[in-house]
């Protein structure tokens, strides 16, 4: 018998716990040539802002040992264009659409959350609190507990759709940040975003990417992400979406066992466009082999 793989994240029911990580799956379209997107638990869209954003100057990516550095700079097409040009296509699939979003300041976060709340076809909001706007105090909302508290509170007020907070790993105590989200009414948290990192070209003595610092992703950071998910899951009740270097079903299962309710496949999509599919299949096989009838019986079963 096929085991149950349905999980609940806030008000969303995902047919399986595998979603795509924001920024690594474009607007879905790009991957629809490889497989049926309806098979996914959910699609998380590339970070959206109210207005289109050009992003950072190239070069934007660089390969590191078992990882990659990126400084895309949150390039995106903006809310209106997204709703007009991308959403209709996405609605054709039987999966959940989660929109990752950000603003230049708290006001923009609130405004965009309001609009997304009223947008048909958007099932949930993932709030990226590692917004890299250097001129804004609010840029630090992912790093400073007080700012995070206020930001989540304000955004929570304007949406009753499932609100997920995507946290930055650049903190001492990820559990504290997770707890703040829970206390302020967030429905779930996503862990982790990329880790700030740098590579220097020793010939030019400059960063190998357009910005000095980029975000590290891929298998290299997986053990760090897993530790954070485990730490957070011990203090919050709300679901956690585990993210970071997940390539195979085994990787994903580690996160589920550590306490994640769902997982997002990120950099792996670049290496193999079918990664998310293979993770879904592999999880199912594992459940069958281990005789686990419901994936929810596996989640958080790690013993210290």
């Amino acid at each position: 018998m096929k085991p149950n793989t349905e999980v609940k994240v806030g008000k969303l029911i995902l047919k399986n716990p595998v979603v795509t990580a924001s920024g690594t799956f474009g607007y879905g379209l790009e991957y629809s040539q490889f497989f049926d997107l309806s098979l996914l638990g959910a699609i998380v869209i590339k970070g959206l802002s109210i207005n289109p954003k050009e992003g950072n100057p190239p070069p934007r990516i660089y390969e590191t040992p078992c990882g990659m550095l990126n400084s895309i700079g949150l390039q995106n097409i903006g809310y209106s264009y997204f709703v007009k040009e991308k959403l209709p296509f996405l609605k054709r699939f039987d999966t959940k659409i989660i929109v990752n979003f950000f603003g230049e300041n708290l006001r923009e976060y609130i405004e965009l959350a309001e609009r997304l709340n009223d947008t048909d076809g958007v099932h949930a909001l993932e709030m990226n609190v590692s917004c890299p706007n250097k001129n804004s105090h609010w840029r630090k909302m992912g790093l400073i507990p007080e700012l995070l508290k206020e930001a989540v509170r304000e955004v929570r007020k304007v949406t009753d759709k499932t609100l997920i907070i995507k946290l930055s790993p650049q903190v001492t105590d990820i559990a504290e940040m997770a707890k703040i989200c829970e206390d302020e009414g967030a429905d779930a948290i996503s862990l982790i975003n990329t880790v700030p990192a740098m590579v220097i070209d020793i010939k030019t003595r400059r960063s190998v990417i357009g910005n000095p610092v980029g975000g590290l992703s891929g298998p290299a950071i997986r053990p760090i992400a897993l530790r954070m998910v485990w730490e957070a899951s011990k203090v919050v009740q709300i679901p956690i979406i585990g993210i970071g270097g997940i390539i195979t079903a085994e990787d994903a299962l580690q996160f589920l066992i550590a306490g994640a309710k769902a997982v997002a496949v990120g950099t792996a999509n670049f290496i193999n466009p079918l990664s998310a599919m293979e993770v879904i299949k592999g999880i199912e096989n594992f459940l069958i082999t281990e005789g686990i009838k419901d994936i929810n019986d596996l989640i958080g079963t790690v013993t210290d």
């Binding site: 790009e30 040539q33 190239p58 934007r60 990516i61 895309i72 466009p273």
Partner: protein, 250 residues
């Protein structure tokens, strides 16, 4: 429809110290157009992590070939793979060279030949090829090219071959006046030089160039491979790798 294929290596030959010809056996029928590329993943482990973009060099029957220069870790590993080993290739990706209507001029600098060979082959006896390299030993497939092209102009920096100097100089002298659409692939400095020549001569010849940028996904999703154009950032993997030369900010 782009595909992911695991293909067997049937040839992996060093043509020079640095340049290798890799041929894979195609199982399912594969279609790709000149100027398009594939992402090649060297091994199953995570170092190197990403696929490496290589232009389609040749595709005939059940054999697809890539011509590459050993540059860093990825291409080094690629150059050492043995016959019979399998390798994952994803693609084809990107915009191809717009098909030439009649005769056309091609400018290839060094390993740039990898990107235009298939174009020349698809439209035999219509190309005037300007092909340059550091020295004669890096001029590859001379006989084939001679047969496929209307004419071949070889330039080398060391001065052996027909013309001494950079390939764009030879083109300035012999190519401009042909008045044909131009297809070019080579190092950035060659592209810049070519644009200067076209501008200086107030030429309004059509000129298509294939450019390179580091890539992750190859299919337009990561926004990692953008270059600056007159219309803002464009993705080399999907809006390129072939661009009109006057679109580029050089």
């Amino acid at each position: 429809m782009n595909k992911i294929n695991k293909l067997k290596i049937i040839k992996n030959q060093a043509l020079t110290d640095e340049i290798h010809l890799l041929s894979l056996k195609v199982s399912d029928p594969l279609e790709a157009k000149p100027g398009q590329f594939f992402l090649l993943k060297m091994n199953e482990r995570y170092d190197p992590l990403l696929g490496r973009p290589l232009s389609i060099f040749d595709l005939e029957g059940d054999k697809i070939s890539f011509l590459f220069r050993v540059k860093g870790k990825g291409t080094k590993i690629l150059s050492k793979l043995s016959l019979g080993e399998e390798i994952q290739i994803t693609g084809p990706f990107g915009r191809w060279y717009p098909f030439p209507q009649g005769e056309f001029a091609v400018i290839a600098g060094g390993i740039g030949i990898a990107s235009v060979f298939y174009l020349i082959k698809k439209f035999p006896e219509r190309a005037y090829l300007f092909y340059g390299a550091r020295n004669l030993s890096e001029i590859l497939f001379y006989e084939e090219l001679k047969n496929l092209c209307k004419e071949v102009f070889i330039s080398t920096e060391c001065g052996r071959g027909e013309y001494k100097g950079v390939v764009t100089e030879t083109f300035r002298e012999k190519g401009l006046k042909l008045n044909l659409p131009i297809y070019a692939c080579g190092p950035m400095i060659m592209i810049k030089e070519l644009r200067k020549i076209l501008e200086e001569n107030q030429s309004n010849l059509q000129c298509f160039v294939a450019v390179e940028e580091r890539m992750a996904c190859g299919l337009g999703a990561c926004l990692g491979c953008v270059i600056e154009t007159t219309e803002g950032f464009k993705r080399v993997c999907t809006e390129g790798p072939v661009f009109k030369i006057d679109e580029l900010k050089l």
